[in-house]
């Protein structure tokens, strides 16, 4: 009995570290037929070139004003995440139909919105003008293309609420609710 408790404690500790420290949030997405193994996703490697020099892509997020309190690391994160998600959803629109890719992309969508929320929370401290700077930053042509792609993949059932488990990003909830019950139109092998 005691041994079970000890093992249980260690198991819990290891999982908390895996989630919060190592950031392997993809391990905790729901399983099932639709979802595969995020670590095996081929789309990740296929999109490496899109991440090689994001500074050359003029359509990625950029700051419109010099008067801001955005840290360069956050700016780079916004650029990289947008470039990556743009590649996963816009450049390769069918990638999400493959189980492993779907798991990876869903995890990435969670991170994308979490990063935006985090930056908005920081901006809140400085008032409306800073919040608008961050909002504008995340409203580049690539971000708008991602939004359109997200609408499309939820509209055609390639992405459903159950795929996210208990971690549905707030921005995605209305979309996922609107298209609830849509059957996916992925090409069958």
């Amino acid at each position: 009995m005691r041994a079970a408790f000890v093992l249980g404690g260690i198991f819990l500790g290891v999982n908390l570290i895996n989630y919060f420290v190592l950031g392997h949030t993809g391990d905790y997405l729901p399983g099932g037929q639709r979802m595969g193994e995020w670590k095996e996703a081929k789309i990740r490697e296929a999109c490496y070139p899109a991440l090689e020099s994001p500074e050359r892509d003029e359509l990625l997020p950029k700051l419109t004003s010099n008067e801001h309190r955005v840290d360069w690391r956050d700016l780079n994160r916004a650029k990289e995440m947008t470039a990556a998600l743009n590649c996963y959803l816009v450049t390769h629109p069918n990638a999400i139909c493959e189980r492993n890719n779907r798991a990876y992309i869903i995890d990435y969508i969670n991170r994308y919105f979490a990063t935006f929320d985090e930056m908005m929370n920081t901006a809140k401290r400085y008032g409306e003008s800073e919040m608008s700077t961050v909002r504008n930053l995340w409203d580049s042509p690539r971000n708008r293309a991602i939004n359109a792609a997200l609408m499309q993949v939820t509209g055609n059932g390639r992405l459903i609420k159950a795929d996210f488990g208990w971690t549905v990003p707030a921005a995605m909830k209305p979309l996922l609710d609107r298209y609830k019950g849509t059957t996916d139109n992925c090409p069958r092998a």
Binding site: R2, V6, G9, G13, V14, I17, E67, V70, R73
Partner: protein, 220 residues
């Protein structure tokens, strides 16, 4: 039942500590070395509303490119990135001083250079309007630059390699200028002792203790 619960908590804490220590060991070790060599930049106990994020401070935006020379890229580079370069360079100087040979002249040179750079930044910040330091980010930048300047100046003084005459007088000038500015800002209420860490240079703490606030320029 209580004993079982206790066992579970102990097991959890033990497991977390063991695995956590394994994963975090490099970060803990590097944080400790930086802490020991130059002391914490800003007080860990300071009021979060008083000290913000120095890297994004508007005063850093106006001053950093006078201190960090990145050539023609300065227009393309974010000031917070240049500030990071300055911090990374100083960290290298601290680690080199800690781990390098005590009589290595390069290590002494890096320390002197770091002291001068932080001194230049702090002087530039103090040259701005006094009310600029009512902003938590600006105040944090000022505290960090001043603390780092005195820490490196002390480290350079203590090192075995002598400081070149010119550099010594530059450091001394900065030191006098900064101590004066600290006195003023203590009187204006823009700085208080709690803004500085416990390991801050004694001359800073002496001013913070001895000078009294005469007016609060941040009150509108």
């Amino acid at each position: 039942m209580i004993r079982q619960l206790l066992t579970l908590i102990l097991a959890f804490v033990g497991g977390f500590l063991m695995v956590g220590a394994w994963i975090w060991a490099p970060q803990i070790s590097s944080a400790m070395s930086s802490f020991v060599s130059v002391g914490p930049s800003v007080s860990l106990f300071a009021d979060a509303n008083r000290l913000g994020r120095p890297e994004v401070a508007p005063v850093v935006r106006s001053c950093i490119f006078r201190v960090v020379d990145v050539g023609p890229d300065a227009t393309k580079m974010e000031p917070s990135a240049a500030y990071f370069i300055l911090k990374a360079g100083s960290m290298q100087a601290s680690v080199a001083a800690l781990a390098g040979k005590p009589d290595d002249p390069r290590s002494g040179f890096r320390t002197v250079l770091s002291a001068i750079k932080w001194g230049e930044l702090a002087s530039c910040i103090y040259a701005q309007d006094d009310r600029e330091l009512c902003d938590p980010d600006n105040r944090a930048a000022m505290v960090e630059a001043t603390t780092k300047f005195f820490a490196f100046a002390k480290q350079a003084e203590a090192s075995k390699s002598p400081i070149a005459g010119g550099d010594a007088s530059v450091i001394e000038n900065f030191s006098d200028k900064l101590l004066n500015a600290l006195k003023n800002h203590r009187r204006y209420g823009t700085l208080v002792a709690a803004d500085f860490g416990s390991f801050t240079a004694p001359e800073i703490m002496r001013i913070m203790r001895e000078e009294k606030e005469t007016r609060d320029i941040c009150k509108r």
